[in-house]
């Protein structure tokens, strides 16, 4: 159980050589071995989505993956969203629409929202709300989160001419 394995995690484009037990989750490895505490744990059984990160562009529960499974994959976390210190459109939209209160679920929602926007910024409202139901927020009642993702989608559509 305690045998350690050498793993290289590529997080936000940066390589982290870490030595982890096979049972170490990706979430714990990110937080404790890579020092990236922006990814939060809310339930550790895959329901709340607070630990959502992107693995090769797909939103995944970092609590349900072992660190060793992420070897060789491109991991993105909330710390990588702002480029050169400039917030992403979704991050700005979260602030402008009061889509966060305590902020604990926020990194998971930001990663989920980022994946949704990258996949299809023209998605219908119904599809958006349906997708956002993958994660849980106890503070906001969701309306402002949906509003923020819509606002960011609108901004992205303007930026990239169809």
């Amino acid at each position: 159980m305690t045998e350690a394995l050498d793993v290289t995690l590529t997080v936000n484009g940066e390589r982290h050589a870490v030595r982890v037990e096979a049972r170490r989750t990706l979430a714990d490895a990110l937080r404790e071995d890579c020092g990236l505490t922006g990814t939060h744990l809310g339930c550790e059984h895959g329901v709340c989505g607070a630990c959502t990160v992107l693995l090769d562009g797909e939103p995944v529960r970092a609590c349900l993956l072992f660190a060793v499974q992420a070897q060789g994959r491109a991991i993105r976390t909330v710390e990588g969203l702002a480029e050169g210190g400039e917030l992403s459109p979704l991050q700005r939209a979260f602030i402008e629409n009061h889509a966060l209160q305590c902020g604990y679920c926020t990194p998971g929602f930001l990663m989920l929202g980022t994946a949704l926007l990258e996949r299809d910024p023209t998605m219908s409202d119904e599809a958006l709300v349906d997708a956002l139901s993958s994660n849980i927020c106890r503070c906001t009642g969701y309306a402002n989160i949906a509003k923020a993702v819509r606002a960011a989608a609108a901004e992205m559509r303007e930026r990239v001419p169809a």
Partner: protein, 786 residues
Amino acid sequence: MNAQSPHQPGAGRLVGRDVPRVEDSALIRGRGRYVDDIAPPGLLHAAFLRSPHAHAAIRGIEAVAARALPGVHAVLTLAELGPHLTDTRLVVALPSPAYRLELHRPVLADAEVTHVGEAVAVVIADTRAIAEDAAALVEVDYDPLPAVADCVAALEPGAPIAHSGAASNLAAELTLEYGAVDAAFATAPHRFAERLSIHRGGSHSIECRGVLARHDPLDDRLTVWSSTQTPHTARRMLCDLLGLPEEGVRVVTPDVGGGFGPKLIFYPEEVVVALAARLLARPVKWIEDRAEHFIATTQERDQLWDVELATDGEGRILAVRGQMIHDHGAYTARGVNVPQGAVSAMPLAYVVPAFRVAMKVAATNKVPVTPVRGAGQPQGVFAMERLLDRAARELNLDRAEIRRRNLVPGDRMPYATPLKTRGGMQVVLDSGDYPRCMAMALEAAGWDAFPERQRAALAQGRHTGIGVANYVEGTGRGPFEHVSVRIEPSGRIVVATGAAAMGQSTHTMLAQLVAEHLGGDMSRVHVIAGDTAAAPMGIGGSNSRQAVLAGSSAHAAALRVKDKVLHVAAGLLEADEGDLEIEGDAVRVKGVPEMKVTLAAIARAVAGAPGFAIPGGRGPGLIAAEEVVIDAMAYANGTAVAEVEVDAETGEARILALTFSHDCGNALHPRIVDGQLMGGIAHGIGNALFEHMRYDEEAQPTSTTLADYLLVTATEMPPVRILHMQSPTPLNPLGIKGVGEAGVIPVPAAIAAAIEDALSPFRAHVTRVPLSPVDIVALIDPAAAA
């Protein structure tokens, strides 16, 4: 009165406006600092061994194998901790003459466990994983005892006794009453009785609880970072239990990922982790996981109400009477405030000439009960509103009309009720116009036209219904909150408070109020909340109180500092105080912006130099500390109207629209007010339809994952319309009332009423929440349908 406006009439330069939150910049980048994000060098990790039994005697604890596991530093039971503690129990009960049993929680259970999840031992190891491995190796010799799960059954003769030393399960009893209740009932033309139940849920902040303790031998100080809503209480408890002086213990509330009530309690884990850190001379951290949160963090809402309403022929309330049984859980982790708050909330919105509800508080073998967002008030409102709906139906009155006839009228404000608070103070409804507030919601929800919509839907085979519920909420529980404001020689403004933030924008609120008077630049204000080293005293977060109490103190302190700044500046600028204004980082002469002196320069001038007089003649420093005392609570009010569609086949209830009108006085930050309400509304929807903390008959919890215990997600949220009325309270200088809990309070009652209305063709009678699809199908009388 202003709906969805970016700022309210009479707003200041910052106050009353939707200014950017100061919390967001770090949180949005993943740079928050929650307790689990803090990892000092040499950190060890704790895992608690918890009882798998609802009730059992402990015959022995064997930890040899656990201690032998590599990486384990200690396995501690009460036997090891006891000699270092002044008391092995957490004596935290609020005062009340109502108690019949003394149910103080042990620091760790050593003789008997009384609920699943009660902590028995702690393992400290190099990693959490090793600590959990070792905990699994600890052998506890349990002798299972009969357990009681249900609070009603607990009070029946012959029920299993939750605590083997106790004579019964009656933990407390109290009665709230006034007026000639029985005489009113004896002559009342109409009487309506209901048996109502509300079930247990949890707070389920997305961040569970956590504690990190580090003893620094250099300054002999214990620092405890805890996800607590009440750091000063935690420090007092730690000092008391560990026999340490106040200056030897610092409690810090870092960023908190949601509180919702249970984090205001002082928990065994806090003292155990703190003591372990001292004993091992290493930092120790414990982070609660969700499985633990379900069995070790306090919960709320199980109550059974047998209540009766007496009215005259026009539906006017003559009296209310009844009994209520409250599930207390296994220990007194707070007091009898929840049942008391529930019963007090029941009559509050209405003119109720006579009232008596007797409460019996039952000990059960379940997680202790303490306030969860709403703190009893949703139950009291549910009881009152269900009775009014029943009376309206039987008297053939519109459900809104019976409420109009009974709401406390606006022209009777302030309205002195015969009720008293838990501190014995008279309940005086200070301001507001409840009928007008209800009218706003009814109009926006299209109440009057609903019967037409309902008929049209029914013609298509759709069962729709509408429900309304009113609430009045005591907010801003006193007596005070400490806030100090000072301008440092750098010119920076530092605000320190005993208030604790858990996601409700406390830093923004204080920065806004202080910057309003000191230059208007919130980025120059640094707020320290939830740190006992920064504030000499504090009460903390609960009871929708922090904006009211800490806000009032911040306002008063900022005004005092402003006064001194202007006075000193007037001397330095050789100008008249009345001609000066503070703008950004400086005081300047109005209309002559180049004539100015910076706040930094003023702060330095009054910092003093040896042998020189302090300019201004008002003593050194630019600092003011305030503890504005406000004993009376500010009563907020509101109305929820829910429109639902129920699938009579599957029992699925879908909320088509939710309208929420409310009055919390002035809004310091309208968007934050809406945010607080929306969160509460979501919680209320959960309480109405989804959230049910279930236990089997042996008091084993059976809903211990978020797959079994359902929290509302984005798809369950209906369109919500929030309408604002603003009746400033005269009780504080800001005219504000709390709003953190309001959203949750009337929503279960409104949804229950709407479901009953939707299923009226089936003669459905709703007497409980939550209502799962299974419960809803069971409401349908097939004979009535045919």
